[in-house]
């Protein structure tokens, strides 16, 4: 174990410029984390505003225009400013080089550039908010988005710019995984989080350019009336939907694959058990990333596409389901004959399994064309993707933050409070979104600012629990940052969970500015709990 480490990346070098111009992946990751969480809170407040409005049927609290702005901004901020950039940008940046034993990512300057590109894009998003919002829905469907008088152009321009940041981060990660591993760390010895980031990055560099070009066409449509998506000029609004979902369905995997990676790390470490089906999980990551490109049409089952397309897209959709299902079983079986500790990260991982299973299974309902016709664009879909995006990705993200917090920042949070918050998130989440499945089945359409009396009971129930969800997430994150403020430091050699991958065994907490004091030597695989005992060391 490493003792007496004098330097760490948080305190060395000093000065504001050393942060603004840093090439250190850990500092860049921290900057992503802070900005990501700010946008997360912003999106969360918007969500609570929506729930408040929907507690009762009429326009009691805000007008329809305001509601439309709020739900659009909620979606756009959560997806484009928080989930897509934040998990790869924050946890990926901090951990990926550590996990492969590199001193930094392959292209550190590009990495810093991508953070600034992200910030620049975020400025346009903020401008949109200040300037009165945008009311098209985060999907920007034409022809509404070409006619709306709201700030469609600043928002799409922001998304276009942030797309470049995604692409550059993806490029960087792919090159890092391919070329920067230390000798002996072969593909099958990589932690599964690295595999997950690799799959994510592949999707990022191949799908994002299509989004970028779609946004360009949308802006040209507004500026020059080029008519490609405008039915009045002989264009086709459905083509826009094809383009948009060709990116945005793979984007779902940009969002969920890192979560799979986090869960694949948390469960073996906190169960002290070799992961079940390593190769399967690794390959299913890649196959999900690939199949994800072929199913976009299932977002358009009611758009009037040909019967043949409906059948094909429904068929391929189910092929994403099966590898995902086997992954869930693998994670559960990992606990078999292990030593399971109910630490905060583990609580999050277990609630991930519960919530994501519901999210995945409800996808089966939506994949069946005949049933999707009824459920399309209702609250069933809203509940489904929140179970995947929030119950899956965000719960895993919170778990990952708790897991790597002592490693990344050298401080330990209050574990009791963390556990209580984790339960609060779990209960609040189910309370908020489970009723929405029923709402959808009973025919409540999404994106409604007002609704008829028959839906009141379920809506007010959902609103009540959303408050609990909001509080729990807020305090969970405050609890983390509080440990930082209180300087509740852990010993630099700490390995509180007994992790086995390089970031736990070969670096100090927080890590050295150059990651490793001496070049790391590969000794054992990331999950070799059957071969080596790694002590849990956690001293204040």
């Amino acid at each position: 174990m490493i003792e007496n480490v004098k330097q760490n990346y948080l305190t060395h070098p000093k000065g504001i410029m050393s942060w603004l111009l840093t090439l250190d992946h850990k500092r860049i990751g921290l900057m992503y984390l802070v900005s990501g969480i700010l946008f997360f809170f912003m999106g969360g407040l918007l969500a609570l505003g929506m729930r408040l409005e929907l507690a009762a049927p009429g326009n009691d609290f805000i007008s329809s225009e305001q509601y439309n702005n709020i739900y659009t901004l909620h979606g756009a901020i959560m997806i484009f400013l928080f989930i897509i950039p934040a998990i790869p940008g924050a946890l990926g940046n901090i951990l990926l080089p550590l996990m492969v034993g590199a001193k930094d990512v392959a292209f550190p300057r590009l990495n810093l550039a991508s953070f600034y590109i992200y910030s620049f894009g975020a400025l346009f998003a903020l401008y949109t908010i200040v300037n009165g919002g945008v009311d098209t829905g985060w999907t920007f469907y034409t022809p509404y988005s070409t006619q709306s008088s709201s700030n469609v152009v600043p928002m799409t321009l922001g998304i276009f710019i942030i797309g470049f940041s995604s692409i550059l981060t993806g490029l960087n990660f792919i090159a890092t995984v391919h070329k920067m591993r230390i000798p002996g760390l072969t593909w099958y010895k990589l932690p599964l989080f690295v595999w997950a980031l690799y799959g994510t990055s592949l999707v990022q560099i191949t799908a994002t350019p299509v989004l970028a070009i779609t946004m360009v066409l949308l802006m040209l449509e507004r500026f020059l009336g080029i008519g490609i998506f405008d039915p009045a000029l002989g264009g086709d609004p459905v083509l826009y939907q094809h383009f948009f979902w060709f990116y945005s369905h793979p984007a779902v995997y940009i969002m969920i694959l890192p979560a799979f990676g986090i869960i694949s790390e948390i469960i073996p470490v906190h169960s002290r058990k070799k992961i079940w089906g390593y190769k399967f999980i690794a390959y299913s990551t890649l196959s999900i990333a690939f199949i994800g490109f072929l199913v976009w049409g299932h977002h358009m089952f009611t758009s009037g596409q040909s019967v043949f397309s409906q059948i094909v897209f429904s068929f391929i959709t189910y092929f994403v389901g099966i590898p995902t299902g086997v992954k869930i079983f693998s994670w559960i079986l990992t606990m078999y004959k292990g030593q399971v500790s109910f630490t905060p990260p583990m609580i999050y991982a277990l609630s991930f399994l519960f919530l994501f299973t519901i999210g995945g299974l409800t996808g089966i309902f939506l994949g069946a064309v005949a049933l999707d016709i009824h459920l399309h664009d209702t609250y069933f879909v809203v509940a489904h993707f929140h179970y995947v995006m929030q119950g899956g990705t965000i719960v895993a993200f919170l778990g990952g933050l708790h897991h790597w917090w002592p490693k990344s920042f050298g401080t330990m949070y209050n574990q009791t409070i963390a556990n209580i918050c984790a339960f609060g998130v779990f209960l609040g989440f189910n309370g908020t979104f489970f009723p929405q499945f029923l709402l959808g089945l009973r025919g409540m359409p999404r994106r409604y600012a007002t609704y008829s009396e028959q839906f009141v009971e379920l809506h007010s129930y959902s609103t009540f629990w959303s408050g609990i969800l909001g509080f729990s997430i807020f305090f969970a994150i405050v609890n983390l940052f509080w440990s930082f403020m209180k300087r509740n430091k852990v010993d630099p050699g700490s390995n509180p969970w007994g992790g086995m991958s390089l970031e736990w065994t070969h670096t100090s907490s927080p890590p050295h500015p150059h990651n490793f004091e001496t070049d790391p030597v590969f000794e054992h695989g990331p999950y070799d709990y059957d071969k080596v005992i790694v002590e849990k060391t956690y001293k204040k």
């Binding site: 792919i174 391919h178 299509v210 070009i213 360009v216 080029i226 490609i228 383009f243």
Partner: protein
């Protein structure tokens, strides 16, 4: 550790050795090329969709493009790819002056390409062959006289019919010719933007080579920009027949 004083100035210390640095850059560049290909792929899909919707219009309207200028540009761009490759060959052989000459030639060819493109664009602007709602060209290529002038009611709903007071007849325009120009301008415009960015990069290469920052032991940037330039060339080789040579 590789922090010894013997490491060359271009070596970045987060790599193990020069070899790894070179391999990584090259790998990253190819990944970027993949991204570029996907960017244009989206537009090629739009092209395919609309060409299959309006096959006759595409064939008819493409005659408005100047094949000679397109062909000239194709030759210019292929030659520039050759001079780019020669520049890399020259720097590998430590022929600095030749390399700079070849880079300059590439730059000039790129400039010539944009010049020809400007002429084409300018002409289209003059005659109103513009994208979307700015389209106004009504030349004989896109207009036909409607034969049954008395059955005109059948046509009026299609929006392609207009009445000319001088000849006192109704005319029918081709189906949405502006869509062809929308796609033409977006695709060639994006390609032109790539050429312009490439010119900036080549100018920087000329400067760096002259200053001795790029030399026969370290020419990675030139090789990477070379790959980019070949891609730009390749995309044009697809664009040229798709727009100028159909029908």
């Amino acid at each position: 550790m590789s922090h010894d004083n013997s490491s060359p100035s271009f070596f970045q210390h987060h790599f193990h050795d020069v070899e790894q640095q070179y391999e990584t850059s090259k790998f990253g560049m190819w990944a970027f090329i993949l991204t570029e290909v996907l960017t244009f792929a989206g537009l090629f899909v739009a092209y395919i969709v609309y060409r299959s919707w309006y096959p006759d219009m595409f064939v008819g309207v493409h005659k408005l493009l100047d094949v000679n200028k397109g062909l000239l540009n194709t030759v210019v761009l292929i030659t520039s790819s050759l001079t780019m490759a020669l520049a890399i060959w020259a720097i590998q052989k430590n022929l600095k002056k030749l390399s700079i000459f070849m880079l300059t030639a590439t730059f000039v060819f790129a400039l010539a390409f944009l010049g020809v493109k400007y002429q084409e664009y300018h002409h289209k602007y003059e005659v109103g062959q513009l994208p979307g709602k700015y389209y106004s060209y009504m030349g004989p290529e896109v207009v036909e006289v409607i034969k049954d002038q008395d059955k005109i009611d059948l046509y009026t709903r299609t929006k392609n019919v207009y009445f000319d007071a001088e000849t006192n007849r109704f005319y029918k325009t081709m189906n949405n010719p502006h869509i062809f120009f929308s796609i033409y301008f977006v695709m060639t415009g994006l390609h032109g933007l790539h050429v312009a960015i490439g010119m900036g990069l080549i100018a920087w290469l000329i400067y760096s080579t002259a200053r001795g920052k790029i030399h026969h032991k370290y020419y990675t940037p030139m090789e990477m920009i070379g790959i980019f330039w070949h891609l730009v060339d390749l995309i044009w080789i697809y664009l040229f027949p798709l727009f100028y040579l159909i029908g």
